[in-house]
Amino acid sequence: MSQEGLLRPGIIQLRVLDMDEAITHYRDRIGLDFVSQEADGRVYLKAFDEFHRHSVVLREADSAGIDFFAFKADGQEAVDGFRKRIEEYGVDVTDVAEGEMPGTGKRISFMIPSGHRIDIYADMELSETAPETHNPYVWKDEPRGMRAQRLDHCLLYGPNLPEVEKFFTEVLDFHIPERVDLPDGTLAIWMTVSNKAHDIAFVNHPEPGKLHHVAFFLEDWSDIGHAADVMTRYDISRDIGPTRHGITRGQTIYFFDPSGNRNEVFCGGYTAYKDHPTRVWDGNHVGRGIFYYERQMNDAFLSVVT
């Protein structure tokens, strides 16, 4: 049976302190394509290997962080179905009109118990620069910068993890490939609605609505090395890596955009099917889970968020 309901992460809207610096970072360093800037100032970008109009939206503001993360559904019927289930679960749903973002259909929007806003939508125009589909080349124009292929996932920090887990698994049909359980409760969950190792992850944190990182997918470990070369050449603030996560097994670098939002370039990661058991980490081994080679968390992992 093919995948139904929610398909994948589709859009992230980020707050940036300075739009010009942000455009240079996301376009020239990470390598996203600039799609448009609209009258309200928001800037739309996409990765070269994505089919739809945009995936990353930047909004200039006086604080950094995330406005919302949106998942694409496989049709309006599915969106309507989720709306019903979310409302029956007791969560208020707000409508976002078609055209609030260019080329994008109507969305539903709601707050989750960690204090983050999640949107769901079915329709977005295909990009004029979408990958070829007829006798395709692997790319039409040579990828720039870190050669990001797609928006991959995000890690969010906030309270009420058990409620977040219940909502995502019972109402949105996610499954949980991996988790960290401490004696006093769950520290973190990695969740997917596809068979990527994660589409979204959460870490328990007292302050709601925080962004730990947004991740972009690269082709392989050699492109991770190339991304590290780009970071040194342009003096990009690096957090940790190149290294590997024990959790998801992805290979990674954490670094920061010019507003202090953490970014990740990520490749690899196992395939997570819904019938696979959850991998569980405990407090004595979680360091190796987060950073497999260092075998310990760095000071910034649990505390530095926007």
Partner: protein, 115 residues
């Protein structure tokens, strides 16, 4: 800034509770000077986070001296706080010798969902 930056006027930075004063150039950020000059096994007086004015890890209060500040997140330093000398060390450059104390706030209080 990468490698050796062009020399500009140097000022001395004193962190409350830290034995060693450091030198910071006018075209350098205080946090980056601290990162270069104070490292393991010496504890750093100010936390290092994003280095870009977004996360608040390097929040300090400047108790003496003058400095220039680049744009940073209002979540961590409001306009009123900035007027009182609060700043993010990764966004300020000295214009005189400085004295500062760490003022990291940790996570802000939980608020009602959706508000």
């Amino acid at each position: 800034m990468p490698d050796g930056s062009p020399l500009s006027a140097l000022h001395s930075i004193r962190f409350k509770g830290c034995e060693t004063d450091i030198l910071c150039a006018e075209d350098q950020k205080v946090l980056m000077a601290m990162e270069q000059k104070i490292h393991f096994p010496n504890p750093r007086p100010v936390r290092v986070g994003c280095r870009k004015g977004g996360c608040g890890a390097c929040r300090v209060k400047v108790t003496k001296g003058s400095y220039t500040a680049e744009k940073s997140s209002r979540t961590h330093v409001t306009e009123e706080e900035a007027a009182e000398g609060y700043a993010l060390a990764c966004r300020i450059s000295p214009r005189s010798d400085l004295e500062l104390e760490p003022a990291f706030l940790g996570p802000r209080r939980p608020v009602e969902n959706g508000d």
